[in-house]
Symmetry: C2
Subunit: 458 residues, 2 copies
């Protein structure tokens, strides 16, 4: 057995204790009253990284919450790997739904329950533990490593793009690994290879200066809700295909290999239906529902309103109507281009004499897909196979992980998402928890990842 592996095995109790310690800090980035807790978590990390033997450990101030940086750069002629994570957590309310207090961690049935257990304090720690195992047993790391752990992920990483642009040299690397990621199961080692992008807009329809009596304006003045319904209804055809002109430009058909990988997922339609709580699933012809989630962009109205919403009846022709729309984008699509195309579509659908305003929403994110066959992916695959004993799967998310596109765009590097959360950990919800089996597997996979990476580039 490798010495680093023995080190990790013999320190399991210590690693569990430090995990609990770290989780006690309520580093909720979105709540102003937890500002000092966020700073305390950053300081805790600095101390932990220093103890691990990492170098140049420092707190990096941003316009918001600080980042924590560390490195070890003495492995000549090997690649430099950027390890990304975040130490901030979501708010814990509603508190009454927690079985045990969110910041008073408790182990039950080989799981650790606390806010941040899955998302993602354990994942931050296990990357540090992996480095510590090498440094303690061998005095060195197999490759060069830089850590960048932010404190604003749960509020959308607002400081990150600017900081990366201004500090690109400091975090220059050959590629990056993010442990803000999950395993499908212990028998399905997982790399997340892609996540969707997102963009959004709000539509505001105005047809008259005020609501009109339906006996006076009815039938002769545009009803803002009719106009909005027509616009919204025009965006999908009967096959659930999005009809916005050019929406699918540059969207590639999945390859047979892509579909094969998708078919390996243990997410059959029955399970999907049960998980979502619905009796029936829909999808574009030619795509199974799970394939839609993996390969196809979406356009969803998230909210729509106008006119009278109270009890009873109010016989008006409403003069205002509103809708919020967000899209999930796949590789090849760009948020600003898609927003422009939706705007054009709306303009074409707007009747003469009706005023429709389209506002672009903040928070757009690029889609991300690591190129198939990228060396980092092969290294991650081997590390997972070696430590978990099964052929890894390459998972594509229907959701958005903005940091992936941001790292790609600002640093020009690819990112493997390799983390040890589970798929049913109640992240962002009461009773968040994580499997301790996965928590203790994580540092082994990361330690092996560094080792394989060094071998692969020798």
């Amino acid at each position: 057995m490798a010495e680093w592996k023995a080190y990790l095995d013999s320190n399991r109790d210590k690693f569990l204790a430090e995990f609990i310690d770290f989780l006690r800090i309520p580093s909720i980035s979105t709540l102003a009253q937890h500002r000092e807790d966020v700073q305390a978590a950053a300081a805790w990390l600095v101390s932990r990284m220093q103890r691990a033997g990492l170098e140049n450990v420092e707190i990096l101030q941003t316009d918001g919450h600080p980042m924590v940086y560390a490195d070890w750069l003495h492995a000549e002629n090997t690649p430099t790997l950027l390890l990304y994570g975040h130490y901030d957590v979501q708010p814990a309310d509603p508190l009454e739904l927690w079985e045990t207090p969110p910041f008073d961690p408790e182990v039950r049935n080989s799981r650790l329950y606390a806010r941040g257990a899955s998302d993602m304090k354990g994942n931050v720690l296990l990357m540090i533990q992996a480095c510590e195992a090498h440094l303690s047993t061998n005095g060195r790391l197999p490759v060069n490593v830089k850590f960048l752990i932010e404190g604003e992920e749960e509020i959308g990483s607002p400081s990150m793009p600017k900081w990366l642009t201004n500090n690109a040299g400091k975090v220059s690397c050959d590629f990056a690994a993010s442990s803000d990621s999950a395993q499908i199961s212990e028998k399905a080692p997982t790399v997340i290879v892609g996540a969707k992008g997102t963009c959004g807009l709000q539509i505001d329809v105005r047809t008259a200066p005020r609501d009109l009596h339906s006996g006076i304006g009815g039938g002769i003045v545009h009803n803002a809700l009719h106009v909005l319904a027509q616009i919204i209804a025009s965006m999908h055809d009967a096959d659930m295909h999005i009809t916005v002109d050019g929406f699918y430009d540059n969207v590639e058909m999945p390859s047979p290999e892509d579909r094969e990988m998708c078919a390996r997922m243990p997410l059959h339609d029955d399970l999907l239906r049960a998980t979502l709580g619905v009796d029936s699933l829909i999808s574009e012809p030619g795509y199974k529902p799970i394939e839609s989630t993996w390969f196809r962009p979406t356009l969803e109205v998230n909210g729509m309103w106008g006119g009278f919403q109270g009890d009873g009846v109010k016989t008006i022709v409403p003069c205002e109507a509103h809708a919020k729309i967000t899209c999930r984008l796949v590789a090849g699509q760009q948020p600003h281009d898609i927003v422009a195309k939706i705007k054009s579509h709306i303009e074409r659908c707007t009747p003469k004499g009706v005023n429709v305003t389209v506002s672009v929403m903040a928070g757009a994110a690029d889609p991300y897909l690591i190129p198939a066959g990228h060396p980092a992916l092969q290294v991650a695959d081997q590390a997972l196979r070696d430590e978990m004993g099964y052929t890894p799967v390459h998972f594509r998310m229907g959701a958005t992980v903005p940091i992936l596109g941001i790292l790609k765009q600002r640093l020009g590097v690819e990112v493997v998402s390799l983390g040890f959360a589970g798929l049913s950990d109640n992240i962002h919800a009461p009773n968040e928890s994580v499997s301790l089996t996965l928590y203790h597997l994580g540092p082994k996979v990361y330690a092996r990842f560094l080792e394989v990476l060094a071998l692969s580039t020798r």
Copy 2:
């Protein structure tokens, strides 16, 4: 000059004073704290009718506010006319927008300002004054008359249908006249010959037990707002034609005479646009906007909502969506039949696996249209022509006057709407007022109406 006319002219000051007196009573039917005021107004009316020489004057209790009844039935071999009105008024708020207090009537520029001045205490009084003029000068009325003045019109006449059914004999008549009506101008004497009916329903769409993350449910689970938008959009075609199967069954095309009457209205498109505050009007092909209001039924969404309505972004697939719809119906359409047809349409538009509930709203009302050439209409025309000096117009309302359909349905009689409000009197709004010229014209037209009616049936 007829003696009754001289009587009316010589009593103008007294009639203005009693109008002001009646308007001082805040008989707001919808506010519990004005219950005694409503009763005071009924008592005031009883006294006024007795002074006029009417007989059997009494207060009729209902489940809600009382009605006031009176009659004079000694004109043998003449028709019996039911005179309808209401003595209750709308609330006066927002009070700060009134130039003078709503229940402290003031004359400015030959108009009387007060809540109820136009809608419709003056119209009630002028029918009584007309009878008083005949009774005082001739000792008798030209025809038999029954008065039924209710106190619940502004809350939808909830007690009226049941009361009429139980007391049909008491108010049996040959036809009815309602003075809850208006004149287009002094040069366009007006009978309102039709009002639209109404019916309404609420649509509730449910697609899943809870809102879903758009990265997880997007594209594979029905979005309740998409389904609702499709349903709403499907109800009109590009020509503003309502596509609900059978919606126009029994709706008659306007005759050339109907269109000619409509064209006589001094409501040109420019004026209509200015009144409604819009730059452009719409209407079904083949119908001018004013013709749409007169002749065509409408289906309007009054309110629609679902999903996230707050600031910012919430990337959900909403599981619920709601819409309120009301129709304005024309002669030949029946509220319950139209609701059933809309329900069927919605069922046909509902995708498999989606739950859509349709609830029928209270407050349906039958459309009303007095048959062209009805004798009462001819009598009203002649009275208007004789007293106002211009050819009368027959106006059709886009709005609903439930009492017309109720009287027709419960008593089996036709109703002429002959009243002396104006079209810009701010009814139901601050600074309600009425033209005193019309107020003093009203009793003359009604007195002449009774006279012509007697002559026409001799």
